[in-house]
């Protein structure tokens, strides 16, 4: 089966414009996370979509699903964990409880705060995870990347042609990801915040899916303003 995992375990309110976590902020006519969920549902790619939500906010999420008439049997709310990896692990546990373990299960993990994800990117993630076992969504780096460990002096400037910026979705054969998590120590689980990096460190090949510049992550107030500007057009067909 193919599962979507929308990650919204945080309660970050870095935007300082609301006490609401950023995934619940309004964007156009709906909260950010609803746009993301709708794109997952309309892609037709998923048997079930799991929302990893901070435990404090699960009743709120349930209300949002009701209000937006998205309380379908294929949509599930799961408690998020203390960090990204723990939220993914919780979702894997919930899926195995609900549907059992299977070598064929595919998990497409995605930031709730990337509502501009496209149909193509989702579809290509599913196909790549099925074919290669793991994939990451990336865009070519347009700025020169400068590496520095002390933050004062340049250590190296890698060749830009080889540099990419990571986005989400990141998608995996679910059993593979679970096994990789089990091999990590508690410290590694905390320090390795990127699931694809876990694969790379354990020499599991990760395929690159071409992302979109528009697939922005709403982290700061500036991102939120850009997202609102992107949706400013009022003439909707």
């Amino acid at each position: 089966m193919i599962f979507g995992a929308i990650l919204a375990g945080g309660t970050g309110t870095r935007m300082n414009i609301s006490s609401l976590p950023k995934q619940f902020l309004p964007l156009g006519s709906k909260p950010v996370i609803i746009h993301t969920l709708e794109k997952f549902l309309t892609s037709g790619c998923f048997d079930h979509v799991y929302l990893g939500i901070h435990p404090k906010w699960t009743p709120y999420m349930t209300d949002l699903l009701d209000k937006n008439q998205l309380n379908f049997p294929q949509v599930h709310i799961t408690d998020g964990g203390i960090d990204r990896n723990r939220t993914i692990q919780n979702i894997i546990s919930a899926i195995e409880t609900d549907w059992g373990s299977c070598e064929e299960h595919i998990l497409v993990t995605h930031d709730a705060v990337r509502p501009f994800v496209s149909f193509r990117v989702i579809q290509e993630n599913v196909a790549a995870a099925q074919q290669y076992g793991a994939c990451d969504t990336v865009i070519s780096a347009t700025d020169t990347i400068v590496a520095s460990e002390d933050g004062k002096m340049i250590q190296s400037i890698p060749k830009r042609n080889y540099m990419y910026q990571g986005q989400t979705p990141q998608s995996f054969n679910m059993n593979l990801l679970k096994k990789l998590y089990l091999q990590l120590s508690h410290e590694e689980l905390e320090s390795l915040t990127d699931a694809c990096k876990i694969c790379v460190l354990q020499h599991i090949p990760v395929y690159l899916v071409r992302g979109e510049v528009s697939n922005i992550k709403l982290t700061t107030i500036e991102d939120y303003k850009i997202a609102q500007a992107m949706l400013e057009e009022k003439n909707c067909d």
């Binding site: 964007l27 156009g28 006519s29 709906k30 746009h35 709708e38 794109k39 549902l41 309309t42 892609s43 037709g44 509502p115 501009f116 496209s118 149909f119 193509r120 579809q123 528009s214 992107m230 949706l231 057009e233 909707c236 067909d237």
Partner: protein, 337 residues
């Protein structure tokens, strides 16, 4: 849901717009296969008059496509159903007017956004369900429905002597119109007049084909269908006037950007009827699907379709428009953006 719309902003320039898509009381459709029309190509190349370009752009192109139902708030269609959207958006109109001529009606990709979008939201009555027809063919349903519409109006208006019919034009419209005439009037004698022998060679199901400079002086036709459009309109219509028998009917189907000069003296002398045909309505779409469900018709249609590489980026969109200028008939493509 945030939808992505690919709008032409000026000739050969697309912009990517993100829109909050409202789909209450609508059916959400994911475009699957699309087909290009001359009208799209004229916008893309900037061949429309500058005031028209200014008024209509920015706009998403394409009004010929098929798609898959992804979500239906109306409960009319099953998820996954293959459907064809009707680009005509009619207003209220009296019964004696066809929906495609209703005053105040609008049309997708002419004044409002066409189907080059990630998803399209359509009223349930603006969709027709298709089954057992390849999606590459379904993409041109709208185009076939135009010929069906013209044939329907012809049958209602033309005098009953319908033994010999002639189609002027050897392009996609001429081909489809000839095929539709063969379908609705299997025993009629159909003649096709064109400019290109290699295109005329495709018309195996008609009775006679002639290059326009080789039309026999003795040719007499009961009724004619003008499918040339563009600069060839005037020559074609005057030729039709010459070869039509008295009180014959001439169905005008080709679009011309400029005013067309015709020999009205002979029109008056012969009492010729001109009937303008443009676009189509729901009933025409349904009849087009009936025609397309016949396996021999599918083979004829398939022979004029060129499937270009799937479209996954803006540069791919430019690629299909370039391809379309060199293929003789219809260009279709899988929409994967």
């Amino acid at each position: 849901m945030i939808n992505t719309v690919f709008q032409l902003t000026q000739p050969k320039v697309f912009s990517v717009e993100h829109r909050d898509l409202f789909y209450e009381r609508q059916v959400l459709v994911r475009p699957f296969y699309m087909s290009l029309c001359h009208a799209d190509q004229r916008y893309y190349q900037g061949l429309r008059k500058s005031e028209v370009m200014k008024r209509k752009l920015p706009m998403a192109l394409v009004h010929e496509c098929c798609g898959t139902v992804v979500y239906d708030t109306t409960g009319t269609y099953q998820k996954g159903s293959l459907v064809v959207p009707i680009p005509n958006v009619p207003t209220a109109h009296p019964d004696y007017i066809y929906e495609n001529y209703a005053e105040g009606s609008s049309f997708r990709s002419s004044g409002r956004d066409g189907f080059m979008q990630e998803f399209i939201a359509m009223p349930s009555e603006r969709l027709v369900v298709a089954s057992n027809i390849p999606p590459q063919l379904l993409a041109i349903t709208e185009f076939i429905s135009i010929a069906i519409h013209a044939a329907t109006r012809f049958l209602k208006n033309a005098h009953p002597q319908r033994e010999k019919l002639a189609v002027w034009g050897d392009g996609s419209l001429g081909y489809i119109t000839s095929l539709v005439l063969r379908y609705v009037m299997p025993h009629a004698h159909i003649v096709v007049i064109g400019h290109h022998s290699e295109k005329l060679a495709h018309f195996s199901f008609v009775d006679e084909v002639y290059l326009s400079e080789d039309i026999p002086f003795s040719l007499k036709i009961d009724h004619a269908f003008e499918c040339t459009g563009g600069n060839g309109c005037s020559e074609a219509i005057n030729s039709i006037i010459k070869y039509l028998r008295p009180q014959g009917c001439c169905m005008l189907m080709g679009v011309s950007e400029t005013e067309v000069s015709i020999n009205t003296r002979d029109v008056l002398e012969k009492g010729i009827n001109f009937i303008g045909c443009s676009r189509s309505g729901r009933e025409d779409f349904q009849n087009a699907l009936k025609l397309m469900s016949e396996s021999d018709k599918q083979k004829y249609l398939d022979s004029i379709i060129y499937e270009d590489a799937p479209v996954r980026s803006i540069s791919d969109i430019h690629h299909v428009f370039a391809t379309d200028t060199i293929v003789p008939f219809k260009t279709v493509f899988n929409w994967q953006i």
